[in-house]
Structure formats: C-alpha cells, structure tokens
Amino acid sequence: MGVETQRVEDFRLAKEPYYLPLGNEVELFEAAYNSRLPVMLKGPTGCGKTRFVEFMSWRLERTLITVACHEDLTASDLVGKYTLRGDETIWQDGPLTIAVKSGGIAYLDEIVEARKDTTVVIHPLTDDRRILPLEKKGEIVAAPEQFQLVISYNPGYQSVLKDLKHSTKQRFVALDFDYPPPDLEEEILRQESGVDSDVASKLVKIAEKVRNLRTHGLEEGVSTRLLVYAGQLIGAGIEPIAACEATICKPITDDFDMQRSIVEIIATQF
C-alpha cells in the first residue's frame, strides 16, 4: 500500500504506548515541541528512543511518521518524487513532506545511516524558517506550528565515515538516553513481558554484567528490548537459560569466547 493511499490519520496512535519516564525527558520534549524546536534522541540500540517518540506523539496527539534511515536513502525518498502512474506522471509526496503538510511528528530513525546529502534536506526545517523546499516540484512547503522533527542516532556507531555533521547536530535539542536504572528496568520488564519480579530482577542483573563487557569486545551491551524478548520467551514457557541464550547472548556477539562467558553469567542467575 503506497503512502498516499493511506490516510494521515492512520499514523495517529490510538492507544497509549507503555513508556516509563527515566528523567525529565517528557518535559524537555514538550518544551521543545511548544517552542517548535527539533529534537535529537541519542542513545544505544533498544534503550527506548522509538518508544519515547511514540509515547510523545500519543501524548501530544500528533500523527507519527517514522522513516528508518539507511545508506541508500535519497532526498527524493524523503521529500517525494514524480512517478509514472498509468499514462500520466504524478507527484508523490515522501514521508517527510506528508508529516510536514499534516503537522505531525516526523521521526528519522538512525539518521546517521542516511547519506550526508540527504540529511542536508532537513536543514531548512530545523531553523526558524521551518520550511521544506520541494526542488523538483518547484514548491516550498511551510511547516505548520504542530509539526515536529525528531531524529535519533546511536553515538556508539560513530566513526569517521558515519557521524552527523556539526552543521546538522547543532540544529537540535538533544536528549540523552541510556539503559534504565535497575529498578526501572525491572519495572519495564514486568510491564512489557509479564514476568514476575524475581525473573525481572535476574534478567536485569544479567544485563548489568553483560553491559560491563562493552569496550571489552562487545560493541553494545544487551538492550532493554532484548531483555523484554527474553522475558516474553520465558513467559511463553521456554527454559530461562535457553531463552536468555537466544535473546541476550547470540544476538549481540558471534565471538565464541564472548558467548561462552555470557552463558556463564546467565548461569549464575538461573
């Protein structure tokens, strides 16, 4: 189904997503929204950035259009392009244009993955002009007050080749995310996967130990999302060690020694 065949209202969240605030991020986001400032969410994979945006879109009653950025993402993919439809050529708005026109929240996930020339397209939307030039169409779309641009990126993936340009970074209000403190992470696990406090506590302890291996061969620690998966598998009747191996150990490393050490850590809890 093409984007233009969906109604914009389809992108509005009808049900409140579960989100447990870790600090003052909700207030900060609301303040930025009210001041029409773009927001940048920084944090490791699976720590709740996307869930936070969903929560805020529900809270602010805005539609949410998410674009998962990748290295082949072009400016046309974002803003729109002319396309053949039968025997006529029609203009098809891209997701960013749809979000701008509808006054929703445009969420560009993992923006650092997109081509550098693509990220420049969003610049006019992020300063006081708040406009989106559609160069191919010769049109400029002014963003309504309700429009909000949100980007996310994972600082752990930074490299010379993959990093946001400073001219891009310095246009955003940045909110730092990290794995939740143990008590909150346990609460999240109970809510999201339905495990009891004991299992949630053990899973969080495992995560805490495994995260100690960051910079010792692990690119990233185990995410809250993976802990939720583990809890869900355990809830589905899978033996805890097997569930943890499948969700906590194997997805994060292919290094045999690393896997073995993580399995031993899991075994100290279950």
Binding site: K209, D257, I262
Partner: protein
C-alpha cells in the same frame, strides 16, 4: 678427399690425387708400402704416401727400396726425425752427388741416436718408471680409502669434541636446575635427562631446561615426561637439528605431544572466557594470570586473578572449567568489593564506621 674403404687402412693416408699420380701397374705396391710404413707411425705413413709417387714414377725399384730402408732406419731411432727424412730425401736423391743423401741420413741418424751408455740408462729408467707407475696404479684404491678414513675420523673427532664440550656445559647447568626442581620430580628428571644425554648431550641441555618447566608446572606427569622423551629420542634419531628443536619445545610436534599427554584443563584454553567472565562480574578490566607467572608478581596489579596453569580436580573438562569459574568468581569478588584496596592507614576510619554502625560493644 681420402681414398675409400676399398683400400682398407690406407684410405686414411692416401688422397685420391696421390693414388692417381702413381703409375697404374705400381698402385698395389704403393698402397702396400704405405700401409706397412703407417704401422710404424701414422705421421710417417702420411709423409711416405706424399713422397712415394714421384719415386715410383722413375720406375727405379732399387731407389724406392733405398728410400724405404733409410726412412725406416731413422724412424726406428726417432719417428719425428724419420718423418723429416722421408720428406727431404727425394729431393736429395735428385742431387748430382749420390753421396749427399747417404751423408744426410748418417748425420740425422747420429744426431738422433746419441751415446750408447745413455741409451742403456734410459732403458733402465724407462723400466723403472713403468714399474713405479704400475705400483702407483695399484695403490690408487688404497690411497682413496685412506682419504675416506681420514675424513671420517676427522668428522668423528669434531663430533666428539662438540660432545665433550656439551657434556661440560651439562655438568655445569644440571646442579642449579636440580636446585630449582621440586624434590619429588628429581628422580624422573634425572632418569629422562640421562637418556637424552646418552644420545646427544646438546639435546640433553635443552631437555633439562624444558623438563624443569614441565615437571615444576605439572604440565606433565612423570609418566608423561617419559613418553615425551621417548618421542623426542625418535625424532633425534632421525634428525639431530629437528630433535634439538623438539627438546627445546620449539617444534609443533613437540607441543602436540605435550597436548596429547596433558591431563586436566589448561588455563590457556579458557583464559579469555574467564577474563570476560570476571570483567563482566566486577565491571573492571580483569587480567587472568597463571601461577607460573608468579615470578612477575610485582607487575601484578589489583585487577589480576591468579589461577593454576591447569585444572585437574575432575576427570572431565567441563567440571574442571566449573572449578576455574568458581576460582575466577572468587577473585572477581575480591576485586569488585575492594579486598586489594585495603590500606592499614584506613583502619582507624574503618573502626569508627563499624563502631558507629554496630556500637562499641560489638
């Protein structure tokens, strides 16, 4: 072009033109004479073959006979003189004075012959020379054999010299090695080093060093040490240099044999897993060290967990790994909770804290 095989050996000396210049009725005699003269000396035959046609052309058999007699006579004394005489004589026969040719032959004969006494001496010398040469030819195999024996003995002498030198070194290094060796392994050590020393003292030097480490660190049992030496002696028997490498633990085969003989789980096999495990448990970068590295103890920081080089409490490696894991967790606990950070100067504060928490009577 030479005259063909039809004239037998003479074909080598008589060109077709030469034969063509001989009167037809004398050609058979010509070839016969050349053949006879050639048997004396090849060069003489060639020269006679060149000169004879002009003599035969004169149809004077007496002249031909004189020529041949004079040539033969001079050639018998010296073939080179004979060749020269054969070349010059036909011209001298043409001289008006018939005595000229015979005087010429007389002078050449006298000059070639020399004194009789000298000839007799020359003959004796020749005989003696021939005898000596024959004896020398008979001696040749013996000389060759003597040379071979000389080389062999020299090589053995060099080898024995090296052997003695390495034996001296062995005598010097064994006592300090024995002093460093755990007493219970000394009999095994001495027995095995003795076996290697009997085969090659240089290899025994290497074996002594290696066995010291292997036995002290208990990487091999006494039986394992004997087996390791057995295999090494086989290698040494085939190639000395490779055998040296084996006893130095410098060959893959030597290490493979050790692995084969190993009993228990080696720390090096699981050190990285244990390091990651300990690092995860205590949240600090932890290094795993073997007790073999205790000599570097002053370099150890507080973030080291020291473990035995192999674990052989249990029969299976999984259980031995668990034993390693328990020891590692214990070490990691000490690191995590600050055992090594205790300072005597902090005792006062610690006591105050304890008193504040539990009361002075506690």
């Amino acid at each position: 072009m030479t005259f063909g095989p039809a004239v037998g050996n003479v074909g080598m000396y008589v060109a077709r033109e030469m034969l063509a210049s001989v009167p037809e009725d004398q050609r058979a005699a010509y070839l016969s004479i050349v053949e006879q003269i050639s048997e004396l000396k090849y060069q003489l035959g060639v020269e006679v073959a060149r000169q004879l046609p002009r003599l035969l052309a004169e149809h004077d058999p007496a002249l031909v006979a004189t020529y041949l007699d004079q040539v033969r006579a001079v050639a018998a004394l010296g073939w080179k003189s004979g060749v020269e005489v054969a070349k010059q004589l036909p011209d001298l026969y043409d001289a008006p004075d018939p005595m000229l040719a015979s005087s010429y032959v007389g002078i050449v004969t006298g000059a070639t012959t020399g004194h009789d006494e000298e000839d007799a001496g020359t003959a004796e010398l020749t005989v003696e020379l021939e005898r000596l040469e024959r004896e020398l030819r008979e001696m040749e195999p013996k000389v060759q054999r003597a040379q071979e024996l000389k080389t062999l003995l020299s090589a053995r002498d060099r080898r024995d010299e090296k052997r003695r030198k390495h034996a001296v070194e062995l005598a010097s290094v064994l006592p300090p090695i024995l002093a460093r060796l755990r007493p219970r392994y000394r009999p095994t050590f001495l027995e095995q080093v003795n076996r290697v020393a009997a085969a090659d003292p240089e290899s025994a030097l290497e074996a002594a060093d290696t066995l010291l480490d292997l036995l002290n660190s208990e990487r091999v049992s006494p039986d394992g040490a004997a087996e390791w030496v057995d295999r090494g002696l086989d290698v040494l028997d085939r190639n000395k240099e490779v055998g040296l490498g084996y006893f130095r633990l410098g060959s893959k085969y030597s290490l493979d044999v050790l692995d084969e003989l190993r009993e228990g789980l080696a720390l090096k096999q699981v050190a990285r897993i244990l390091k990651l495990y300990a690092t995860a448990l205590c949240g600090r970068d932890v290094a795993i060290r073997s007790t073999q590295e205790m000599y570097a103890i002053e370099a150890f920081g507080s973030d080291h967990v020291v473990l035995p080089p192999d674990m052989r409490f249990f029969d299976d490696d999984e259980a031995n790994f668990t034993a390693y894991k328990v020891a590692t967790a214990h070490g990691a606990g000490r690191i995590e909770f600050g055992t090594y950070e205790f300072r005597l100067a902090d005792m006062g504060d610690t006591v105050d804290r304890l008193v504040a928490r539990y009361g002075a009577s506690a």
